[in-house]
Each structure stands twice: as structure tokens, then as C-alpha cells.
Amino acid sequence: MPALKGVGLLKGLGVTLKTMTRPAATRQYPHVKPDLPARSRGVIALIEENCTVCMLCARECPDWCIYIDSHKEQVAPKEGGRARTRNLLDRFAIDFALCMYCGICVEVCPFDALHWSPEFEYAEHQIEKLTHEMDTLRTWAYSVPAPDPLEEGAIEPKEIESARKAREAVAAKAAAAAEQARAAAPPVPAPAAAATQPAAATTTGAAAGTATTTPTAAAPTPVAGDAAPAASAGAAGAGTTTAAARPADVEVEPGIDQATYDRLLAAGESDRTARAKAKAAYMRRAKAEARAAQAAGATEPAPAPAAPAEAAAPTQVPAGEGAPAAEPASVETPAAATAAPETAPPAPSAVGTPEGAEPAADARDPDARSPEGDPTASGTAAEVVAPGAAAAQADAEHLEIEVDQETYDRLIEAGEPERTARAKAKAAYARKLRAAQRDGGGAGS
């Protein structure tokens, strides 16, 4: 109750007058583009390469506004076996006049073909023009922001992991073939021969590894950082475990990974966040260690860790196993931490390359990444990599989407923003590769 009746009236006048002198809160939309959050739900975009015509989205749509046409196609068997059929997408259209933007289709899509795009300027004068076809939906996908990096020390996603592994296996095979070819011709020095031995033979691998591998050896690691952020996030995982070495859960005492904690604090994270992440990292590593110990104990006496200080959890794979890629897990050298403070350094894949093998063609930035890879931890079943072979032999099923450099440069020159250019270049690359596959497949069948 104001002391004097009517004071409120004057106060009200004061409020409006004060508001008048302040700048307006509105934005002049057509002239000034709205500053929308990157993940605004403007429109539904389609990455048609990912679509398997499973029809989940069309069936779950409450408005029935998704139209999908497809045809079946026979795929010639790879080696023996019978031919398989698969669905090929002919039409994918969303009627945005019906769509109520519930996002259920995006949620149910099992292959990440549908995404929310922040584009919103697609109003039309005729309602039928709001039915947008595959090509339009694809162009919207370029503005879909990359997924956030995984949490500190999180496990690499399955699909990325398996893709990487498949590629490594292929590379190893090719390297082995090359090595055999070479071994057939000139006499090979002893350390090199030792390097061809199974992992179990090199329990003193510290010395041998140092002798046989060169620190600058570039690994055919997927250039994850920009080409496929998900992959980068996955690779950032500290404890990289193989699928085989993942038995039942193990109990460990909770603790804090001091290195992670310090690094996160230095990176400006709040104490609580840093502590939580460090704890998570510690738990993950401890579990990985325990599992590794279990696995080693089950087969052979556990080999002494090659690099006790740096390599936190070297996962030893039994020699009899087909996959010879033993990897250094959780490489947390201080140098790596400074080089990439936010994410752990990419796991330098432990393929030692003897005698100065050249960096793989698609590794765009070898120097920045490989030196930190501790060679002592990796001299196991390394074989020679034939440069460029990896890309040529990349399995079609585990295709890593890369950037088509030509398209990328052209778009950058044309003045496109970096993000769009990269996305389009990626799509161009995927398209090319697919076309090549189809041609190859067609010729084969």
C-alpha cells in the first residue's frame, strides 16, 4: 500500500517512460538474421546415405507426413554364399504442411539418417510446395551441427570402433603381404624379424619395439578431428579396449585420476566437473586394467607392462588371436596433454612402421599426431603398411566418410562458410565412393 493514493499511477508512467528510452528487445528479422542456437529445431534433415528404408520414421509419424518409396536390389555375394537383397531409397519426402515438428522420426531413426536442422526459412506461398523431397532434405543436413564430443574418457562408440578395427585389420593384412614379399627377396635384419613374431614373443618388447619402430611412423588413423567428429570423440577415449577384452564387470575402488583432474582444472573446468570427470576416467581405467589382468591371467602369465609410467592400460591380446593389434590405452603423456588439452590425444595406433614407411595418404596431419604415440608401448605385432593401400581396400561396409578435398577447396574459394563447405565436401566424397562401389559391384555381378 503506497503512502499516497495515486503514486502507483505515476510509477506506472515512469515504467513506460523508462522502457521507451531503452533499446528495443526485438530483432529486425529479414534484415538481421536471428541468432539461433546451433541445435534449433527448424526443420528435419535427411542424410540419405544413412537411410536403410526401415520405414520406422514413416510408421511412427503421428501425422503420416513422411513418404518413402524404395526398391529392392540384389547384391552379389562377396565370396560364395547366396545373393542378398537390400532396399534402395527412391523417394523420401516430408510434407511440412502436415508435420507438427514432434521429432519422433528423428528419435526413432536407428541409423542417424534424420536430424534436426536449424534451417527455418522454407516458407512457401503454395501449400503443396511444402512437401520437400530427398534432395532438399539432404541440403539441410549440411547445417546439422556435429555431435558434441564425448565425455572425458568415454568409451569409443561401437560403430566407430569397429570401423577403425576393420581398417586396421585390412592394413595389417596388406602390410603382412608386403613384408612377406620383401622377406622373400633380401635378407632381413634380426630386429625386423623379431618384430614379425607374435606379441607373446616380445615380452621384452620395450627394446625391440624401440629398435624396430620409428617414432615418426604415421598411422593410418582416421583423421578424426574434423572429418568425423564422432570418431574423434571416440578416439579421445582414454581407455580403448577391444571388444574381445570386455568380460563381465569388475569391482574397483573409486578414486581420482590426478592427471585428468589437473588437466581439466587447467583447462578452466569447474572443480566439481573436473573432479567428476576425473573420477569417471579413473574408474574406467581401473576397470580396464582389471579386465586386462583377467584376460592375461586366463591365457599366459601377464607380461610386464612395457611402459609403466605412460601407458596406463596396455591391453595384451593373446598371441593366438587373429587380431594382432595390441594397443596402448590411455596415453596420457604430458606432451599430449598440452598439445590437445581438451581431448585426450588420439590413440596412436600401434602399428610400428619399420624403415620409414610413408604416412598414409589420408592422414592429413601426421606430425601433430604421431610423435606423442609412445613407441615403447606399441612394438608388438607391427607390420609394414603399404601406403595408400588402406583407402583402396577400405571395406565398403565400414566406410569412413572423408572429405573430398577438391570440392572442399572449391567451396571455400566460392566463399561458403567452412562448416557448409566441409559438410558438402563430405557428401561429395561419400557420393563418389558409393558411385565407385556401385560401378565395381555392377561389374562384379
Binding site: 517512460l17 522502457t19 521507451m20
Partner: protein
């Protein structure tokens, strides 16, 4: 040259069209200025920008664009409407609003129609607009329109009283009902200094209600009556009603400035510009009140007129009479 022009102007048949044209020019420009001001001021008071496109610079031509739009629109007369009354109502509302501008003293010798009872003429003319509102309300054959019309009639009758009484207090103080004389007898500070400041507030409030402007816009309360008596109007007829409203704001501001604020008198150089400045300032206050106060309920509206404004203006009349008789200077 100037003398020749003066001689020419002395001829009645030359002077008359000049006066008519001048009044029409004032009638057509000032309401547009106030309308634009309303757009912008209200927008900024609501943290918006208002019209920004028409006329390139901050939407200065917005009302012109609006006018063009209104002309292009179809003039619909409802089937059940009383066609003649419906069609005539905007004119009945508009013409008195134009005529009022003829009686306002714009400068020392700039009174288009000088009348002994100029004050009563302006009041009489502004009260005629009610008939237009009632015609529109009844002829629309729409219950919302009729309700709005009844409310408008009740409100206009109620607020006519304090309006006239406050004006009468000024006429009493000045000793004349001639608007030009009333201005002459004021200093440039007007009657705002002294007991008549109460009259100024009473007159302002009552004028706001006469114009059915917010917060006294119960007759056109859009949340319950759509748009009152204007519900069925479209196109040019609707534009006429809007023009009447803005012309009403200008003319009531001009009358209030003449009665209480010294009209065309100012601290430095007397002249019409002072009146223009005062009119714009008062119009700003009208818009200001609109964007500040919530609408009064119908019963609040009526009791405010009868229980507050009428007694206050009667008391004011008494006080002014007392001071006048005992020659206490104001």
C-alpha cells in the same frame, strides 16, 4: 507585395477558401503525425521498434501505406445492416471532427472562424460525434456493436459533464467563452499555475474518456466486444473512423492547450508552433496513458465519472467563482 497579398486576403471570397484549405491541411497532417507517433511511442514503450519499413526511414510513411491499403479494401455492408445509417455513420462522426479545427485559435490573428462562444462550439461539435458512434453501433446489426454503442453512449454522457464543467471553470476565470480571448488573457504559462490545474486534469481525463481512448476504451474493448461499434466496418469507412479518432486526439489536445496551457503563447516567440508543440506533447501523454494503464471496468468507469470527476469539477467551479468574486488573483 505583402500589402497586395493582405488586400487580396481581405476579400471574403478569397479568404474563405484559404481558410478552408488551411484547416483541411491541418486536419489531414496532424492526425497522421499523431497516428505515426502512436505507432512508434507505443512500440518503444513495449520494448519494440514499431513500423520500420514503409518510407525507408523508421516507417514514416506507415500511415500513408495504411491509407492505401484501406482504399483498396472492399467496403462491406452487412446484409442485415441498415444500409443508409451504416454508410452515413462515418461521415456523421468525421464532419464535426473536421469542423472543430475551424474554431481553434492558431495564433494572434489566426482564428479561422472566430466566435463569441467558440468554447461551446467546440464542445458541441465534439459531442455530435456520439451520434455517429451510435448510428454505427445500431446499424451494424451486430450484438457486439450494439453493446459497444450502449457503452459508448453511457460513457460519453457521463464524461461530457466534467468536461463541460472544467471548460466552464476556465471560461469563468477568463471571463469569456471566446477561445481567442481565453488565450489572450493567459500568460504563456497558461492556467496550469493555480487552482485550475485541477481543471486541467479533470478536463484531460474526461477528454480521454470522450475519445474512448484507453484506459477508458470500454466501448471498444477488443477482448470482449471485438471492436465495439467498429466491428463491422471495413475499408475506407473504417479508415474514416480511425481518422476521426486521431483527429479527436489532436483537437482535444488543441482545446486543452488553448484552455489551460496558453495556446499559441510561448516563452520566446509567440506563434502557431507553440500550439503545435503543446498539441504534440499532449498527444504524447494520451499515447503514454494508453500504453501504461489497464482498461477500467464499466462500473469503475461510471463511478469514476459520477463520484469523482463531477464533484471535483463542481467544487472547482465553486472555488474559481469564489476567487473571481473576491478578486483573488490566479
Amino acid at each position: 507585395m505583402i500589402d497586395a497579398a493582405r488586400d487580396l486576403l481581405d476579400n471574403y471570397w478569397v479568404l474563405m477558401p484559404v481558410k478552408v484549405l488551411a484547416v483541411l491541411a491541418i486536419f489531414l497532417t496532424f492526425p497522421l503525425v499523431v497516428g505515426y507517433m502512436e505507432h512508434k511511442v507505443m512500440a518503444h514503450m513495449q520494448a519494440r521498434l514499431g513500423p520500420m519499413e514503409a518510407g525507408r526511414f523508421h516507417g514514416v510513411l506507415q500511415l500513408v501505406a495504411d491509407g492505401i491499403k484501406f482504399v483498396q479494401k472492399e467496403s462491406i455492408i452487412p446484409k442485415a445492416a441498415d444500409k443508409w445509417v451504416f454508410a452515413l455513420a462515418p461521415a456523421v462522426a468525421l464532419i464535426p471532427a473536421i469542423l472543430v479545427f475551424g474554431f481553434i485559435p492558431y495564433g494572434p490573428d489566426l482564428v479561422p472562424i472566430r466566435s463569441d462562444v467558440g468554447l461551446f462550439v467546440t464542445l458541441a461539435l465534439s459531442s455530435v460525434s456520439v451520434i455517429g458512434v451510435l448510428m454505427a453501433a445500431w446499424s451494424s446489426a451486430n450484438k457486439y456493436s450494439l453493446m459497444g454503442g450502449i457503452r459508448a453512449a453511457a460513457q460519453l454522457i457521463a464524461y461530457e459533464l466534467p468536461l463541460v464543467l472544467a471548460a466552464a471553470a476556465v471560461a469563468m476565470q477568463a471571463g469569456s467563452a471566446d477561445l481567442a480571448v481565453i488565450v489572450e488573457r493567459q500568460g504563456w504559462w497558461g492556467y496550469i499555475v493555480g487552482p485550475l490545474v485541477i481543471g486541467f486534469f479533470v478536463y484531460g481525463t474526461a477528454a480521454l474518456a470522450e475519445l474512448t481512448r484507453p484506459p477508458f476504451d470500454m466501448p471498444v474493448a477488443d477482448s470482449e466486444l471485438v471492436f465495439g461499434h467498429l466491428t463491422e466496418y471495413t475499408g475506407l469507412r473504417f479508415a474514416f473512423f480511425l481518422l476521426t479518432e486521431y483527429a479527436g486526439i489532436v483537437s482535444q489536445s488543441a482545446i486543452a492547450a488553448t484552455l489551460f496551457l496558453g495556446g499559441w503563447k510561448g516563452p520566446f516567440l509567440d506563434g502557431p508552433w507553440w500550439l503545435a508543440a503543446k498539441v504534440l506533447a499532449l498527444s504524447f501523454v494520451v499515447i503514454w496513458a494508453r500504453s501504461t494503464y489497464p482498461r477500467l471496468r464499466e462500473d469503475q468507469l461510471q463511478s469514476f465519472a459520477w463520484l469523482r470527476l463531477v464533484p471535483v469539477s463542481l467544487a472547482l467551479l465553486l472555488v474559481v467563482g469564489f476567487l473571481k468574486v473576491y478578486e483573488v488573483g490566479i
